[in-house]
């Protein structure tokens, strides 16, 4: 599962998916789609932190976080801090996360993604003003579903079944 061969193609794959994540984020989302829109960049960066920790880590997460801050017109650093904490959590739980099949992995990712979003909420609260409601936590659900789909796709791509044969 952990492709650690130092091939240029994996660099291409990493950059491709991260750019795709940025592009998806740029679509003019509105209404309900905007409310539940998964955080594509966060899922992308955490996914590659899990699978390629030597290449993607704190620096990338911080930069994409700044980009996310620009997106929402938020304070610079709000998402960046949260993404960096997310990367740390994934690195901390990495060996554990890698053992699970997609739906269990997604279930394990949910608290991490929730934690990241809570940090976004707290930093914004402290730095700007109280948030308008807790709708800020809804995208966590979207992100978890996205994580599940991505993990499932990767697993099927590598020719394994959707579930562990215990």
């Amino acid at each position: 599962m952990n492709v650690s061969a130092q091939t240029p193609s994996s660099w291409r794959r990493i950059l491709g998916t991260l750019i795709l994540a940025v592009l998806l984020e740029q679509l003019p989302w509105s209404g309900w789609a905007l409310v539940v829109r998964p955080d594509f960049m966060l899922v992308g960066v955490l996914f590659w932190t899990l699978h390629q920790p030597a290449r993607i880590g704190f620096g990338t997460a911080f930069f994409l976080g700044l980009l996310a801050d620009f997106q929402d017109g938020a304070v610079f650093g709000q998402h960046a801090i949260a993404y960096v904490i997310g990367v740390y959590l994934v690195l901390y739980l990495r060996l554990r996360l890698l053992q699970f099949d997609p739906h269990r992995q997604a279930a394990q990712m949910f608290p991490i993604l929730l934690g990241v979003q809570t940090v976004v909420l707290l930093v914004g609260w402290l730095a700007v003003n109280p948030p308008a409601g807790l709708s800020i936590l809804i995208p966590v659900l979207g992100s978890t579903v996205l994580w599940y789909l991505v993990a499932l796709f990767v697993r099927l791509w590598h020719g394994k079944g959707a579930r562990d044969r215990a």
């Binding site: 740029q26 003019p28 017109g73 914004g124 800020i136």
Partner: protein, 281 residues
């Protein structure tokens, strides 16, 4: 327990140390941005980088809108056309009046040898991107400093006041909506002339603040900009009152309002470039 591809002896900082460093960098970013507003250059950079991307990414939804629009019923279009024709005749009458007045005004000004005041200039802008509205509701427009925009200008659509430009980049700009939390708009009640202060409370809603309990307010009253801030021209519709209630604990009325502009619907808006009024000193 060295795994292949993993170093036995660490030659770089551990995750905790790196986390600490990045957190410090992040915190300093927040402080520098909030306290000193020193990161606007970075914002401009991002906007220049992302604007073409956003314009490209707008295409799929536009194609989808075209396709659904194609199937709009013929009858609906006809009805709309009739309504538009009627409106056009009405407007033509208005235009004639306005032309007449403008001519008369020009003549009078010439008589008085006044320098003619530059007319209200209008920049048409399209909605480029909408961000999350967790802390403040913002829209990104596809016009910026290049079109003569600057921060503080009012943004309107066919329904009324949309908001105010708060950040201007070379090719795009950000609007803070009137319904955004803590966004204040000086208004007056159309029916009574009572002046007040309308504030956004998020979720696309507004409230009228500091109205004493005996104020004459009814649901359905329209609020217009009063123009006393010298920022918004007077008389732009802002909101309608939806509910007036008294609370036991506060000496003021609680007045809920609904913005008149299509904050989440309008795709095209106008930015009003009024000349700043110079106060004689």
């Amino acid at each position: 327990m060295a795994m292949p591809g993993q170093l036995m002896f660490a030659r770089r900082l551990g995750p905790t140390a790196r986390l600490t460093i990045w957190l410090l960098v992040g915190l300093s970013c927040v402080v520098v941005d909030v306290r000193y507003h020193a990161l606007d250059g970075l914002r401009s950079g991002f906007s220049m980088l992302l604007q073409p991307v956003r314009e490209v990414m707008r295409v799929p939804t536009e194609v989808a809108a075209e396709l659904t629009g194609f199937f709009t019923r013929h009858r609906l279009l006809q009805k709309e056309r009739d309504a538009l024709l009627a409106e056009r005749t009405q407007l033509l009458v208005g235009v004639n009046n306005a032309k007449e007045l403008a001519r008369e005004n020009a003549e009078l000004r010439a008589l008085l040898k006044l320098q003619s005041r530059p007319g209200q200039q209008v920049v048409h802008a399209a909605l480029l991107y909408q961000g999350h509205d967790w802390f403040a509701q913002r829209l990104t427009l596809d016009q910026g400093g290049g079109a003569g925009l600057r921060t503080g200008l009012p943004v309107v659509d066919a329904g009324g006041l949309v908001g105010q430009l708060t950040r201007v980049y070379p090719g795009s700009s950000e609007v803070t909506l009137v319904s955004s939390a803590e966004q204040l708009t000086p208004v007056f009640v159309e029916r009574t002339g009572q002046r007040g202060l309308a504030a956004g409370i998020g979720h696309g809603l507004m409230e009228l603040r500091y109205m004493p309990a005996q104020t004459d307010l009814r649901p359905g009253d329209r609020l217009l900009t009063s123009g006393i801030d010298r920022l918004y021209p007077a008389g732009i519709p802002v909101a309608t009152i939806t509910r007036v209630s008294r609370s036991q604990s506060s000496p003021y009325l609680r007045v809920d309002c609904l913005p008149l502009a299509g904050l989440d619907r309008s795709r095209g808006v106008l930015v009003l470039i009024a000349e700043p009024q110079v106060t004689a000193r």
